[in-house]
Symmetry: C2
Subunit: 356 residues, 2 copies
DNA sequence: CCGAAGGAGTTATACGTAAAACTTCCCTGT
DNA sequence: ACAGGGAAGTTTTACGTATAACTCCTTCGG
């Protein structure tokens, strides 16, 4: 077929130019590999003359040298890399957590690998199997207890938005969920709401148990009552189903407190399908202040969690652990974003509520 | 302060039990390290007796042995790991792309690291600096040309949702955007819309240029006209601003075609602030079919992109490149999701449109 | 004028793994 | 009886880096 002339790539094969190693740089600069390592590692003060150092840097630049990270990791035994495990990517709470953690990691010249648990909130197969690098530490956010148990290994662990007790975590960083629920309750009480329904998520994550408890506590001893709690999947469709059930209770609640903005979006749809206006007939509150909260109409009254700060604080805590310090649990302040989805309870005049 | 009795951890320090190596397993099983490597690497057929193999596996299990990935990577020169670069995490298009790519990666026993470009759509600092492992390949989604240029290096590259021409990518995988826009245009034409405004994103990503061109082409030669194109940031707030401008044109457009569901959500808010009902007074279409599309009310008519399939196909293409095959460009079919945000044009009876 | 002290490097080594090359033993066919 | 060959291992080596340990040279104090 091919002419005898054409003998395709059997010798001298330069298909991959074999990326340069430190030894290549050394040869090119006329020094030893050790010197290259010293210079490029920045530890050459008093070991190498600045003239030589400059030569080495030029050679490295020239050859486009990139250190082989595998070799470095093997040598050092550490990777300066942490893993951030999140239960879902589509939820922008987690992308904000990641942004915060990534910022701090960059500031400290650490690597950060994001590991989205493939099965939603369910346990990940095994982050340590599927992660390419050996890791120095792990940050896990909003993990269900069973997923947490699967996090074997002896790596330093920082938990975010998780149960501060009963884990092997070196530190825990939480937004002040209880305070958030308290603010929601106070807000609704001030608007005159007395019959409140709770739309919750059926996932096993600790944070939702915590939210439910916090709401019950916030309403305890007030003139308002929790008429029902409906659970469903943590989706808009789930919120729609749960809120439909909640609105069927008689007499119907005047406010739906949702554990998450996704659920709240579903609750809004449910209310409208029942023919109720928001907030005139039914008030709806969310939680987390996702992007979704201000995309809806009316915009959701919700609890803004300091997601970036949670991620950043978690990363700082992990760095502390790695450096041998003994960090402790952090509780970060939250805020109530009052928006259009809540208003005075229908047929009631609340004492201090606006009347216009 | 502390009693003399208490001398905290200074000798015999067993704080880190020094995780076991292959040599430890070998000692424990009474074989050589090479045998351990053969057995655990699965290549012991005809090299090691099955009895010995079982012993080795038991020893590994016993010591909870995990291979040191850094050492393996150094030895093999490959990491069996790819990088997926996405411009934003909060957009669930990308989380779906990732899900698809991750599924295929898992099936092929490859690692996949997700690299969210920190500065939104802007160029990443350098994925290769901040990524812990040396990589075998890169998949990049929806990158702006300038960001693409920054992707130096000679790694095999697969581009998703990007310009098939003028890149050094070994393969490109795109949803059929042009067909999507054509379907949107046909849908609106069938509903009787003749004055159409375009709400576009001001980001440099190729996909938005492509969408704009596709819309213009789809409307060319029809009875409808494109009354204006308004650009803004790729956010709900941006869509609100752009759509507000678009609705101010006189006579006003009866339909707003948005390049993204985020923009469409903003457009819906803009329409309502003008006092227009959706879809009775103004129809709105989105693009991408994000989760947001069905969280809104009315639900958005939008183009559903096969995001998981884009990610999966991209990953398969990369695997093909890594295995030396020569893959080519793929164009994946899209669908129009007809929902509540579009309806017959006001004051017009369209030939085939429903009249109820 | 000699030993000590640095300065400026180099040489050598270890990290843990995969696999090529080697060894040993036993069986088998002629 | 003996070459041949496979089974069942072992020994050895290389991957690229960081750094401890070493060498050689110059300078300087006493």
């Amino acid at each position: 077929m091919a002419s005898a002339r054409q003998h395709t790539g059997q010798a001298a094969d330069p298909s991959t130019p074999a990326r340069p190693t430190g030894r290549d740089v050394a040869r090119h600069a006329g020094v030893s590999q050790a010197t290259v390592s010293l210079v490029l590692g920045g530890k050459w003060q008093g070991r190498v003359s600045s003239r030589t150092a400059e030569t080495v840097r030029a050679a490295a630049e020239d050859l486009r040298y990139r250190p082989n990270l595998a070799a470095r990791h093997l040598r050092l035994g550490r990777t300066r890399t942490a893993l951030l495990v999140v239960p879902a990517l589509s939820n922008d709470f987690f992308s904000r957590v990641h942004a915060g953690a990534a910022r701090v990691a960059r500031e400290h010249d650490l690597g950060l690998v994001l590991y989205p648990s493939p099965e939603g909130i369910a346990p990940a197969p095994d982050p340590f199997e599927s992660t390419p690098a050996t890791l120095d530490g792990v940050i896990a956010s909003s993990m269900a207890p069973e997923a947490l148990a699967a996090l074997h290994g002896d790596l330093p662990l920082v938990m975010l938005d998780s149960d501060p007790a009963g884990t092997r975590a070196a530190a825990t960083v939480n937004p002040d969920i209880a305070d958030g629920m308290r603010r929601v309750a106070e807000h609704l009480l001030a608007l005159g709401h007395r019959r409140i329904a709770h739309v919750s998520a059926s996932v096993g994550s600790w944070t939702f148990h915590h939210r439910a408890r916090a709401l019950a506590q916030a309403l305890a001893g007030t003139s308002a009552s929790l008429v029902c709690t409906e659970r469903s999947a943590l989706t808009v469709a789930g919120g729609l189903r749960a809120a439909t059930r909640a609105l069927a209770t008689d007499p119907r609640p005047s406010a739906l407190v949702c554990d998450d903005d996704l659920l709240a979006a579903g609750a809004c749809k449910a209310a409208r399908r029942h023919g109720y206006r928001i907030p005139q007939d039914v008030s709806v509150t969310g939680f987390d202040d996702l992007d979704l909260a201000t995309a809806l109409e009316p915009e959701l009254t919700t609890v803004r969690l300091p997601a970036e700060e949670v991620g950043a604080t978690g990363m700082r805590a992990l760095i502390g652990v790695l450096e041998g310090r003994q960090p402790d649990t952090a509780l970060l302040p939250v805020a109530l974003a009052r928006r259009g989805s809540t208003g005075p309870a229908a047929g009631q005049r609340s004492p201090g509520a606006e009347t216009g």
